[in-house]
């Protein structure tokens, strides 16, 4: 009966109830959406690299090393000698060591020189390995493997030839146009910076710089691509090294050994720790987003409260009537609270449905366009907890109109 009364009373005020319901739905949508994206961003951020135990570079800040080695943002402070790589690679604690070499670009996308083992050992997300949608890893000097986004945005296909630019500026005047690369593989989208990277062999990087000195091409010297195979293309230096260890237990020992390496100033970071540090720096932005969505919710709750308060004015006869048939004033309080609860619950359900529905519908498009994977499952504990808070705060916000109904029912002046 109680439920029936609240339900029919809401139905009787369709117009204002519907608008309030929509306001609540939108605000809960915003709240859940922001929380979900934050959650997902944090996850995908933390999943940018996995399976790599240590990243080694020239001595610098750990964030700088992480940014240039994993996110291809910023510049390395210095290079590492090739024999340092060889020393590390032969360390008995180290299972594999992948050298990386950065510094060139193609139409604003970074080029990374590495070895074919990179495609075997580098993984992202929950230990997901890199996979090829087309082609395979590079094997020849001037072979090139594209990240998914590069291939998509620039419209490259297997077999296409392209030239790299020296430096990382979007428009570069020094082009390695004498040695074009051939696309031999395209990677699957990963939602990580891998998608925005062009991968070539270390020898390839070496080859395009063979006639260059100090970042400028020496006039008159031209090594033809066909001659490259006869040259020694072992690099003198590289930018960084990704390490996989035989045992996780050795991580800190190896890290310490590298940090104390005597022949060259080196630094080793644990990617997970550095990623967490980086995320910490974004906490401010995160909090601003949360704060704004809390304000949106607050506005909707005030709207709900105002709607119920206005309804009490037009329901004075109803209150008198309910009192005359023996309804205690507390019943009126509970009735208003129940109406608020019904609206909030319905708004929560609608918001959840709308949000996961639109993620399901748009998820593939977002993944294809932006390489961002958003899960349609938004009902995990922290969001349920958030919905709980929404419901409790709506109960608090509507205690005001409920109390006024209570006063009216007690025939007290209000």
């Amino acid at each position: 009966m109680f439920m029936n009364l609240a339900y029919k009373s809401l139905l009787n005020r369709k117009g204002s109830v519907l608008l309030t319901l929509m306001a609540m739905t939108v605000s809960i949508c915003v709240l859940l959406g922001v929380e979900h994206i934050r959650h997902q961003a944090k996850d995908s951020f933390g999943n940018t690299v996995s399976g790599v135990d240590l990243i080694v570079g020239a001595r610098t800040g750990s964030l700088n090393l992480l940014l240039y080695s994993v996110f291809r943002i910023g510049n390395p402070s210095n290079n590492i000698h090739w024999h340092t790589y060889q020393t590390l690679a032969s360390n008995p604690n180290i299972k594999w060591a992948i050298p990386i070499s950065l510094g060139d670009s193609h139409k604003g996308y970074r080029v990374m020189g590495t070895t074919p083992e990179y495609f075997e050992h580098f993984s992202y997300g929950d230990r997901r390995p890199l996979k090829f949608t087309q082609g395979k890893a590079f094997s020849d000097v001037l072979d090139l493997v594209l990240g998914a986004e590069v291939a998509k945005i620039l419209g490259y296909h297997l077999g296409d030839e392209l030239v790299l630019a020296h430096g990382i500026a979007r428009t570069s005047f020094s082009i390695h146009d004498d040695k074009p690369f051939k696309v031999v593989g395209i990677l699957e989208p990963t939602g990580t910076p891998v998608d925005q990277t062009l991968h070539v062999s270390l020898q390839g990087i070496e080859a395009i710089h063979i006639d260059w000195q100090q970042g400028v091409k020496m006039p008159g010297k031209t090594t033809l691509p066909s001659d490259l195979r006869h040259q020694d293309l072992t690099p003198e230096s590289i930018t960084g090294i990704m390490l996989g260890l035989k045992s996780k237990m050795a991580t800190f020992k190896v890290q310490r050994d590298i940090n104390n390496y005597a022949k060259e100033p080196l630094m080793a970071i644990l990617p997970g720790v550095a990623l967490a540090e980086l995320w910490q720096m974004m906490a401010m932005l995160e909090n601003v987003l949360r704060f704004i969505s809390a304000l949106v919710l607050g506005a909707a709750l005030l709207g709900l409260s105002a709607m119920l308060l206005a309804s009490i004015r037009e329901r004075e006869h109803e209150i008198t009537l309910l009192r005359s048939i023996g309804a205690p004033p507390g019943f009126l309080f509970m009735l208003i609270e129940l109406e608020a609860l019904l609206i909030t619950l319905l708004a929560s359900i609608m918001a959840t449905a709308i949000l996961s529905g639109s993620i399901m519908l748009l998820g593939n498009i977002i993944a294809a366009e932006f390489g961002i994977f958003i899960s349609a499952n938004i009902l995990y504990p922290s969001n349920l907890y958030l919905l709980g808070i929404v419901i409790i705060s709506s109960m608090f916000a509507c205690a005001i109109p409920a109390y006024i109904a209570f006063l009216k029912a007690s025939l007290k002046k209000s």
Partner: protein, 226 residues
Amino acid sequence: MSINLNNLRFYYPETPNHKTLDINAWTVPDNKHVFVYGESGCGKSTLLNLISGMLPASEGVVTVLGQRLDKMNRRQRDQFRAKHIGYVFQQFNLIPYLDAMDNIRLARHFCKDRKLKNLQREIQDLLSVLNISANDWHKPAAKLSIGQQQRVAIARALINKPELLIADEPTSSLDQRNRDNFMSVLMSLAETHKTSVLFVSHDMALSSYFDRIDALSEFNRSGEIH
């Protein structure tokens, strides 16, 4: 005695010198139908609120159906009202968005002692006696004519078989034909249910239906009009 008032005073706490009601002694015997005549604003509503227990008396004794309302707390008075008193207002007797059946059920809802068994049957019988056709039982109350609404209100007031029926100008929004119809069903149902009736109105034309006629201004000594 259905109602027995003794040295009853009512004033709002803010204005203790301005007594809305000041009644020395006034009674309504069992099974009597009493007409109280009063112009609007002479304390009629306050009197009815005191007898039905919606307002507590400031001073004095209020005995209804042998029970001291002035000794009860609000919860007990609410329960007492739900169980023993039927109430019909001038208008707005029904929750507009509930149908006749639900409106009557709601009255039973607050009367904790009565069983829900046979409720449907009881409601239908009452509505038939009150000449509400079955087509109208499930319409929202707001869709019924005023005459129908007032008759459903009688059913609502009588569903818990109260010993006392209070009617506060229940006919003033009705036309002549509906008023006569309303009065005759009300009085005959009160007769069959052996219910005392306290009927308040400013319309002396209705007094012919009653056993006794009192003017509020005669037994309320406050004499002040506000």
